[in-house]
Symmetry: C2
């Protein structure tokens, strides 16, 4: 097999596949694939930091370097150094988190939940006798009696199902699969139909939707989509203003998001080849404002101190109440909010990252337009929210853009070269959040910028703009074919400073309140789409994160979405998180005495 | 006071007030008011049949006739003969049922219910602390905690109230009256607000709405309105056809009725000077098709044997689910149906007439386009439905009209005179159900018609029409100023024959099934708008009702509406009727072996 022209290296659990030429190492493969495997010695085979496990396929025998540095038992299990290992066939490689420089992306999404499947719904097949002159029971009463006969007494059928029940019973010739939610009949399906649920994380900018098989607990499809409310306001505050200034504004914002979800559900059903009626349950999370706007609750009070939500505790209602098209009686369960700016999405993060049961000291940071942070210390969880702003979404950045094809997502500044990585390897058209974060960090380490964020002119890559301020020339127009140069300005740097300072200040306040230092934190979990794609070393470099060992960081992907999935497949987890958040200590930063001082201090790049 | 030009006689419990001239008797007054007080001796003062009680006001002293015929103890209590008693001031007169020739109208409506008031809702005043930085509880959580403090644990707030709760708490400065329905917060009112409910009886033709004070149990306003679905089909079958033949037909029929109810609620709120949010509960009844069309349930299966409803058992859902404007979370309770053509309205009749507890043998007949009949014998209730058709509503009658001003509602044929009574004493424009029933009965007793219903020409009032068939000339055009003569044709008589035969056949089958004769029936309760206004003697004369003593008949008005009111003010009565109807023995007439024979036999007028 070694005579194949290319070999495939499948890297797990990060989920990247790449073609390599025979003779290249696993480390070469990881570099080509953009999977950051740590290599302190530069591939010399002695630092032992690029440890991986060959899960399948054939490779060269262990080198002497490896025999010297890896325990025999580990070698027997397939452990090798990536820099010393040359595939001889297609191979699958497991890269442990500790070998990743950029910690594993989407880690939570990748793992199978180790939780018992106990959804809120239950399918029951019924064979009913059709009505005749000697058995004139009404259709619903017949179904209820049928359920009682097979051990489900005291059930009921409500309007949404009654509207379709009579026709469906006749269509399916009185042989049906009934789906119960508690004691309520919520769906009438052909016998034996598989049942599904959806979990949704509504972000200010993006919405993630997961279609889950409720028998197996597996995510069968997932999709992301922009939050259509952006058209009515980029951030939470402007959307709340819209609801105040526009008649039926609240209804409009609700309508666009419900319509978008309905479109997405339609797509997912087609992809999974299922009927809409097979979606019989859902769990929805979002920050408090998104939660309220989705459910149609008032948000006006969220902009005035003391910023109280209309509702914190969890709530269940039928999807039909909002016009969400699932099975006719299917419910929506919304996880509880914690405070006005720490919403159900963060409750879901606490759930999926298991902060609620850890004995370690852990920080969980969900970076977005608002960044929520929780610290668990000695089993107590405290949370806060930082107004980090939309810079990390590419907004308010001169050549900023969202993380779309052609966005510069990684930047390295070497002595005489700027190295760019764009999404999908498309020609660069702008810069997204992780890219601008890299730029700031690289300018700092390359000494192109002072600690206040002023860009120093005079290097090959920096210059003065028309206003006499320094700027970095990232992609000259003449190279890219774009109409304009792609640059990073002093103002852009400042946006990142504001954002990172807000996050760092919040984080420090949680530590101060707990009476511990950052060094005492065992793990830092970085959640959210942006948090998944940033370079953690660079985030430390610019002071967004405290300077603690890289190994303590874990990028956990959409932990909010995964919490929503857990709550979908396990009612136990719904109850659990509702109980857990009752004891969360919320710290309001806007009125916190030292906030301003810590915030200003965190602006510096030093 | 005797020198007043007119005196007012207030007749109770029939609820008629009339102005009389000094010197006129109570009997004169009753005749002027159309209240049929029995007077066998023609006002001579000896038959003792016009016994009444003077409840207030001054009248002439008892005459010798009265002293001779009324016991002294009764005279002391105010009992007098109507024909001998002359008011000397405004008076209020109680007319006992046994003195009414047309038994008391609206009897059920008139009486105070002797039932304990225990509505499904409960008002609770709360004084809440406003949120501040030390108390950041969400609005709903704050209300729930407040309720717990005053002894209502485990309450919840759902979407419809959450949508308005935050604003109302601030509007009422955190001092509110919360209304609970079970454990759910359904309304937020200013502290101390009175709470109300509505009961609605949706008939195929008419809708009756009652506004009820839920603290006192009193009906504070009532209103009747035509069922707007008439525009889409006059009877049940044509409306069901409409839902089958028209896209969104079912939604349309639901929409028009909800809109009409909303308009009516608006009016009633204005009349009672209350806010819509003070309406916090409702009970709705109707025949099975009206029940289903209101709730949005499928009706297609109701036209095919075996005519099973989508739902029989009672159901609760929020008014908002249908767009009915009450308090945001207010519920609708719909009483159970009994069968495809014996609906929740008849369940309400069984409830309000107390058939469920009587030890007597009682027939309850609710006359309408469909006539439902129940027989209780030895504590067992059996029910059937008769397709009596819309003739009694004035439909399919040549000069028929609904019971509106100018409709001839009473007819007497004397030797040389036809005496007409029209609604509101307006000039005659047509004839309504009770009028045409009288015509048929009077033609029979005047020998103007044979037992098959053929009208004999040759009398002063009868003639041959263009087709050579006999017809009765009721109001010549030259007298009334109408464009045409108002006549009653052979065909009109036949419509009444079909209608009365259907009712009589149903009634006989219930008796046959119970193994008893009509003579064994202790009481016949005649319910419904039409049933309230007909002449019972004439209904017996034409054979619609069996020939049993008149005293056994009681016209009970809108017993269905009253059942709905009872269920509104007493949850015990909701549970009670749900239990009672489980044991009702429904008899399907369309497949009953002897039905056709009995029906044909009942067509005769003999």
């Amino acid at each position: 097999m070694a005579d194949k022209e290319t070999l495939t290296v499948d890297m797990q659990p990060v989920g990247r596949r790449i073609q390599i030429k025979p003779g290249q190492t696993i480390l070469d493969a990881s570099r080509s694939a953009g999977v950051g495997v740590i290599s302190l010695c530069g591939g010399e085979g002695w630092c032992n930091s690029c440890l991986v496990r060959i899960a399948s396929g054939q490779v060269n025998p262990p080198t002497q370097s490896e025999i010297d540095s890896i325990e025999e038992a580990q070698i027997e299990k397939g452990y090798r150094l990536a820099c010393q290992t040359i595939p001889l066939s297609d191979v699958r490689v497991d890269i442990p988190p500790e070998s990743l420089s950029t910690p594993q992306r989407l880690q939570v999404e990748g793992k199978d939940f180790d939780i018992a499947i106990s959804p809120a719904v239950k399918p029951i097949d019924l064979e009913l006798a059709p009505p005749d002159l000697k058995d004139l029971r009404a259709d619903a009463d017949r179904v209820i009696a049928g359920l009682e006969e097979v051990g489900y007494p005291n059930t009921h059928v409500d309007l949404p199902v009654l509207e379709v029940l009579s026709d469906l019973l006749r269509k399916y010739k009185w042989s049906v699969r009934i789906v119960l939610h508690d004691d309520e009949v919520i769906a009438v399906l052909p016998p034996g139909s598989e049942i599904f649920g959806i979990s949704v994380d509504i972000g200010t900018t993006k919405i993630a939707v997961y279609l889950v098989n409720l028998s197996t607990g597996q995510i069968v499809e997932k999709a992301g989509v922009m939050n259509p409310q952006i058209a009515y306001g980029e951030d939470i505050i402007s959307r709340i203003s819209y609801t105040r200034d526009t008649e039926d504004g609240r209804a409009k914002l609700q309508e666009v998001i419900v319509n978008t979800l309905n479109d997405k559900l339609e797509e997912l059903c087609q992809l999974a080849d299922i009927q809409r009626d097979q979606i019989v349950d859902s769990v929805i999370v979002g920050n408090t404002a998104m939660h309220h706007l989705f459910a149609g609750l008032p948000v006006g009070q969220l902009v005035f101190a003391p910023y109280v939500p209309a509702l914190n505790r969890s709530i269940d209602f039928r999807g039909g109440e909002l016009g969400l098209n699932m099975a006719p009686g299917a419910y929506i369960h919304m996880l509880p909010n914690i405070a006005g700016y720490v919403g159900a999405d963060h409750a879901a993060v606490i759930l999926s990252t298991e902060l609620w049961k850890t004995k370690e000291t852990v920080l969980a940071i969900d970076i977005g337009t608002n960044t929520e942070i929780s610290l668990v210390f000695q089993g107590n969880i405290s949370s806060c929210s930082c107004a980090s702003g939309p810079a990390f979404e590419g907004a308010h950045i001169t050549h900023g853009m969202r993380a779309a094809p052609g966005a510069i997502e990684r930047v390295q500044i070497k002595d005489d070269e700027i190295k760019l990585f764009t999404i999908d390897d498309q020609p660069p058209v702008g810069i997204c959040g992780s890219g601008i974060l890299d730029v700031v960090a690289e300018m700092k380490t390359s000494d192109l910028m002072d600690e206040k964020g002023s860009i120093k002119a005079g290097s090959p890559f920096t210059r003065q703009n028309a206003k006499g301020l320094g700027e970095l020339l990232l992609v000259p127009a003449k190279e890219s074919g774009n109409q304009k140069d792609i640059t990073v300005s002093r103002k852009d740097v400042n946006e990142i400073q504001l954002a990172k300072a807000a996050i760092r200040a919040g984080l420090e306040i949680l530590l101060v309140e707990a009476g511990i230092s950052a060094q005492e934190v065992d793990r830092v979990l970085v959640a959210g789409a942006f948090g998944t794609y940033i370079s953690v070393p660079n985030a430390i470099e610019i002071g967004m994160f405290p300077d603690i060992p890289l190994m303590r960081f874990q990028q956990v992907g959409n932990a909010a979405g995964m919490g929503a999935v857990q709550a979908l497949i396990s009612t136990k987890h719904r109850h659990l998180i509702s109980e857990v958040i009752k004891d969360v200590d919320y710290i309001e930063l806007t009125t916190y005495a030292d906030f301003q001082k810590l915030y200003m201090n965190a602006m510096y790049l030093r």
